[in-house]
């Protein structure tokens, strides 16, 4: 049974239904509706954040120190670009014409919570204000302009996205797992008419509470329900269905066979690869910001080299190289900014457990696509990786670069709930070397 007129999105149908349920009979109402043609916009800008929760040892990935006591076990190899990376990312190296490493990140915060907050928002934690995570910023700037987008404009796939802060819960990350099953999105046997009736009653109760002057939270609750209703009635939900892709594509992202990491590696690989594949589908549906969590922790306080080469790096290599080549094949690479980061790097010094600890003073972030230049290593650290020898960069520089690629003016200023102006990306400048 489909009560919705052809060409009309279910969202529009519902919002009209909710407003009119009490007055006009639905069928009569429907006759007056205009046919609404859905147009999928091509070449929309988007950003995919690959979140390496736990803090990746970037000295072993992007900024190797052969010959140093801190150098570790891995050797550098050349890439398709003008820089070297670890030997354990050969397929990614082959895509480095569009990717870059920023090697002079210096970010102060070496605590998971604070680092996560700083890297996501470009602001250090402050007790008087909650700064929006960058996905919420993009949702606010781009998502609200995409009127055809019925699913949330900020999706976190097994990521760790942080708070929308003063931009409000309607810009919060929509958190899903890599299987793409959206829990509770199915209304079951409740038909459109009953849903409309429910929503109309809900609206009355909510409006009464909103009017009673108890702060912003009651309105935010209503806004989120609106988004949730849009989502559960939208055809765009198929974007979450990675299983709609052909087997070959899935295999490309997730790998085949059993990597040396065994079962554990296999599963992780699947998760991150699946996440990136879903991200590509979401970009195609018009979602401007997707965060994909790695699926395994990078908090490698011990046995760092074995774990990297058997688990983390093979799965990462497969997934990222698949995404980049796929975006190239689909002519999307110049519209999609890719950012790879964690909350901090790890100590150059190798500890007694053959691990590396938290380190924020000198580490690397990977960024590319989106029409940015490629193939570069921007910035440098000293021979032992202990300090930045060039201009140090902050998360604000990374996000300002992303802003540039996304077409969001870096002069944008938001206003906190208390009226305090907050510059986008903390007012930092884009990284000049990356701007084409």
């Amino acid at each position: 049974m489909n009560l919705i007129p052809a060409g009309m999105t279910r969202r529009h149908f519902l919002s009209h239904m909710a407003a009119s349920a009490a007055t006009i009979p639905a069928v009569q109402f429907m006759q007056h509706l205009q046919v609404h043609a859905e147009t999928v916009k091509k070449n929309q800008k988007a950003c995919i954040l690959m979140w390496m929760g736990g803090g990746p040892p970037t000295i072993d990935l992007w900024d190797l120190k052969p010959g140093s006591k801190n150098g570790g076990e891995f050797k550098p190899i050349s890439t398709k670009g003008d820089c070297q990376i670890t030997e354990h990312l050969p397929k990614t190296a082959a895509q480095f014409d569009v990717l870059n490493v920023v090697r002079s990140m210096s970010t102060r915060e070496a605590d998971h919570g604070r680092g996560r907050y700083f890297m996501h928002s470009a602001y250090v934690p402050n007790p008087t204000v909650v700064h929006p995570t960058f996905g919420s910023v993009v949702s606010h700037e781009l998502g609200t302009k995409r009127k055809d987008l019925e699913i949330p404009s900020f999706v976190s796939i097994g990521g760790d996205p942080g708070s929308p802060g003063f931009l409000g819960m309607s810009n919060a990350a929509f958190v899903v797992n890599t299987q793409g099953q959206i829990r509770n999105a199915d209304m079951g046997d409740i038909d459109q008419r009953r849903l409309a009736s429910r929503l109309a009653m809900l609206g009355t109760i909510e409006d009464n509470f909103i009017a009673s002057n108890r702060g912003d939270a009651p309105q935010a609750h209503k806004d989120v329900y609106k988004k949730a209703t849009d989502l559960m009635t939208s055809k765009q939900m198929t974007a979450f269905r990675v299983d709609k892709e052909d087997a070959k594509t899935i295999e490309k992202y997730t790998g085949t066979g059993t990597p040396t990491g065994g079962m554990r590696g296999m599963r992780g690989n699947n998760d991150f690869g699946r996440g990136l594949l879903m991200a590509r589908r979401l970009v195609e549906a018009g979602v401007p910001f997707i965060e994909v969590g790695f699926g395994q922790s990078w908090d490698l306080h011990n046995d760092v080299f074995n774990r990297l080469k058997t688990a983390h790096l093979p799965m990462m290599d497969t997934a990222i190289s698949a995404l980049v080549s796929d975006l190239k094949e689909r002519s999307m690479i110049n519209d999609v900014v890719l950012v790879w980061m964690g909350e901090f790097g790890r100590t150059p010094r190798i500890n007694q457990n053959v691990g590396r600890d938290h380190w924020a003073a000198s580490w690397s972030v990977m960024i590319g696509g989106g029409g940015l230049k490629g193939g570069q290593a921007v910035g440098a650290t000293d021979a032992d990786g202990l300090t930045c020898t060039t201009k140090p960069y902050l998360p604000g520089n990374i996000w300002a670069t992303a802003c540039h690629a996304l077409g969001i003016p870096t002069t944008t200023v938001h206003t906190s709930k208390r009226g305090r102006p907050m510059k986008i990306a903390n007012g930092e400048a884009p990284i000049a070397e990356l701007i084409a």
Binding site: P152, L199, G215, D216, K417
Partner: protein, 587 residues
Amino acid sequence: MRMWCGSRMARWVAASLAVAISASVAMTAEEPGSKDAKSKAIAKDAKSGTKKAADEAKPAGKKREEFTTGSSDVLISYINEQIRQGWADNEVEPSEVAGDGEWIRRVYLDIVGHVPPMEDIEKFLADKDKAKRSKLIDKLLDDPAYVRHWTTVWANLTIGQTAPRDVSRKGMEKFLREAFTRNRPWNEVVVDIVAAEGNYEENGAVNYILAQMVMPDDGVQATAKTTRLFMGMQVQCTQCHNHPFNDWQQRQFWEFNNFFRQLTKRTVQKYDAKAGRNVTDYVELNRRDNVDDHVTYERRNGLIEAAYPRYFGQDAEVAKKDKDGWDVNRREVLAKLMTEGEKPLVSLAMVNRMWSQFFGYGFTKPVDDLGPHNPASHPDLLDRLGAEFVKSRYDVKQLVRWICNSEAYNLTSQATKANEEKDNPAAGTTALFSHVYLKSMSAEQLYDSLIVATNAHKSGRSSWEQAEDKKRVWLRQFVTTFGTDEGDESTTFNGSIPQALMMMNGELVKDAISAQKGSFLNAILSETPQDKDRIRRLYLTTLGRNPNAKEQQMAAGVVRVPNDQKLAAYQDMFWALLNSNEFIFIH
């Protein structure tokens, strides 16, 4: 699951509602949340209406002089004075005192973790006793649900919502349950937790330390978490360098850490034939003997230094043997030092945290960051409460009494023109407590409000463990863990879309509004003949108030359907109520 939820829910709600109608008249005047209700109240009772208007014209301080919950504790007057001083200093006027309907819902959710059963609301509203609020607070503190609620709160704080590998949530809860049941002095509880050793089921307190040992880290996480959670000191960044904003030194972190260097855990496995592999049988937290008397750490300039066990500059005697001939348990030495004195940080941290549990904000933001770099909003009050808490022998229930009997806790959550700007901590102002701030129900509070309240209310604790197990399974859907050494986790039960979807389409609410035979809605339809009364019952059950005129009118329209569609119409109404902002917020 489905049947269980449905029938429990039905029994609770149906019983609760048996007396609802008589309560409803009294309710009309209770809810300041609706303008209709307010104007009705004034129209109905011209005298009280005039009095209200006159009160509003008077300066706020004057009007408040007489407010009391009925408690005669002098400390409560002191709390009220201090809070009022904050209002005066910031030129803010307090909102009105909350109506009994608003207040009873809040105090139930805050002390026992679920909405009040219908008959309790009714009894409370009809009660003419001037001391009824303080009496209700006492009653709730003796309710078994008080123990359950605070066990949940502290289990989440100590080991997280998802217990890490080799940590027993059951064990931790058992320990906490005993502590809250017997209202054990908080200092003793802290000592037991910090110093705990042994089997993770037999001495559940060990799970706190075990949860900080997910990765081998020389007790760093245990050090950081213990100082933060129990002392309100954020020293984790001093692991690597001196604190940027205060006097805390890197050395001090490692001096604290020294106390945690004897930690060793033993995981004993057994073969599980069903799973076909070894599984954890039990875990023990043990003490290593012959641990170095000092730890070494690296300064930023590369120098290696040694740190001995010291507590704020005070040398700790650890080079001793205990009665069994083992090295003395350094954590026990630390725990005793932590809980000594007239106003130790352990006391201040607990006072601050408990205050924030009830008000949504503590005296500092964040609540676990006390120190000279982060001045408290009400420093004298925090100090005094800290000292009095010690004098009360760390009586947690007494602390709750002080907080809940305070004037500030008894105000409405409706802001006014005279306080909405300057007292809006959600927007970043200092919390002045001139009106009560909205809090979102936790997932546990929602669950208990819908289901477990039945249990607590009716039949006692026979199926405590079973009920807790079911609840944990349900809760798991919201939590993501990040596998970091700090055991970080996040929840999608945070007001975002997944929570909304769960409320709209999930099994829990589906069961609650079930139309099966014997369900709550069936009962309402058979026991209450008039639609008007049925609607009112639904509102009272969920929101603790009557529908206003507009809501009543709309609801009446919705249920004006043929009999065979009635049930569905009521289901839809119940659904709307449970999904509303007014239901999910504690206000």
